[in-house]
């Protein structure tokens, strides 16, 4: 079984095709996974009243307006109207955090805000609350191009992310780059290999029947390569997120995206 799968994979990787030249994606060829979907799924993502991810976004909007306790402000208590104050924020993350001296992603930032300004327990990674609030914040940047900060303090982590992206790992000996740089647009089984741009997270995946973060997606890919995924919140993920954001820019943000 494994031998058949490996042989099929080898045949797939050796088959000639339009993207047979390894290496980085040319800027003109850069495209979101949205482009690989069929018209039915595209329509579902475009229509906010048909998009199940909007259920989480609405919960996030409630959380934004609700104070976590009587003596702590709501998110909106400091930041005001999210439509104005959060516009463009998600397009800049992950970003450098001076307080902890490391890069953090949007989920980390929300949890840090909860801890320091709301004196509340941080949300668990991948909890519905954290996903909803993150999706609500990121929705305010929908349509804006990804704009990773030009901050030299981020460079080492971004470099590490790139090294991780290109490193072979797991029992199959694959790297992220082998699929998403060298063979995007072709098929792995029945599925089209996307370029792997993180333009829509947190996103609703039909396979998950729920909203999930980029870290969940990365864990998925790692277990697909038969590698042991890092735990949620690991710095390796933030490094990868940093590199992926730079690699995807200036594609527009589409949170909450919908994917098969």
């Amino acid at each position: 079984m494994i031998r058949t799968a490996t042989a099929a994979l080898a045949a797939l990787l050796l088959a000639p095709g339009p993207a047979a030249f390894p290496g980085e994606i040319a800027p003109a060829d850069k495209r979101s996974g949205f482009a690989e979907m069929g018209p039915a799924l595209q329509a579902m993502q475009r229509d906010d009243t048909a998009h199940p991810g909007m259920l989480w976004v609405q919960d996030g909007a409630d959380l934004w307006a609700r104070a976590p306790s009587a003596d702590a402000p709501a998110c909106g208590g400091c930041h005001g109207e999210a439509r104005a104050s959060m516009r463009g924020v998600a397009a800049r993350y992950p970003a450098w955090d001076a307080r902890s001296g490391r890069p953090i992603d949007l989920e980390d930032r929300i949890n840090q805000c909860r801890r320091t300004h709301q004196q509340a327990e941080p949300f668990a990674r991948e909890s519905a609350d954290l996903l909803g609030l993150t999706a609500f914040v990121a929705l305010q940047s929908r349509g804006m191009p990804l704009a990773p900060p030009d901050d030299s303090r981020l460079a080492p982590a971004r470099q590490e992310g790139r090294a991780l992206f290109e490193a072979r790992m797991g029992q199959l000996g694959l790297s992220c780059a082998i699929c998403h740089d060298d063979h995007w647009g072709r098929h792995l089984g029945a599925a089209v290999i996307p370029q792997g741009h993180p333009t829509g997270y947190p996103l609703y995946r039909l396979e998950w029947q729920g909203l999930g973060s980029l870290q969940r997606r990365l864990r998925n890919c790692m277990s697909g390569m038969r590698a042991e995924p890092y735990p949620f919140g690991a710095p390796e993920y933030v490094a990868l997120e940093l590199y992926l954001a730079e690699r995807a820019a200036p594609l527009p943000l589409e949170t909450p995206a919908l994917r098969p």
Partner: protein, 106 residues
């Protein structure tokens, strides 16, 4: 209470065919899957959806364990007069939720 999204036009002309879209958050647990502890998770699905216009039933659907989570149902009706639509979802574990939306027919 489950989050529900209902979309229909606010106004319509008499005789117009209008499309109603409903989406509700629900896990639709089939009753066949094992949970993290290896035990079968109890079935938890919506079994019935009902739409009434001014008390009169205009659409009904029965749902079964193979439906995806967060069921999305759309249907059409003919706008005859102004009034209120009532949407009811019922299911396992006493799940019972009703939402309303109004339509103005000019």
């Amino acid at each position: 209470m489950a989050r529900a999204l209902i979309n229909l036009p606010k106004t319509a002309k008499a005789g117009d065919v209008i499309e109603i879209k409903t989406l509700i958050s629900h896990p639709m647990e089939t009753g066949f899957r094992p949970g993290p502890d290896g035990r079968i998770l109890p079935r938890n699905i919506i079994t019935e959806f009902l739409c009434r216009f001014e008390g009169e039933e205009i659409f009904r659907a029965e749902l079964f364990p193979a439906s995806a989570a967060n069921p999305y149902l759309t249907f059409t009706t003919v706008a005859t007069r102004s009034g209120t639509f009532q949407f009811t979802w019922r299911g396992d574990g006493g799940f019972d939720q009703t939402e309303t939306a109004t339509l103005t027919v000019a």
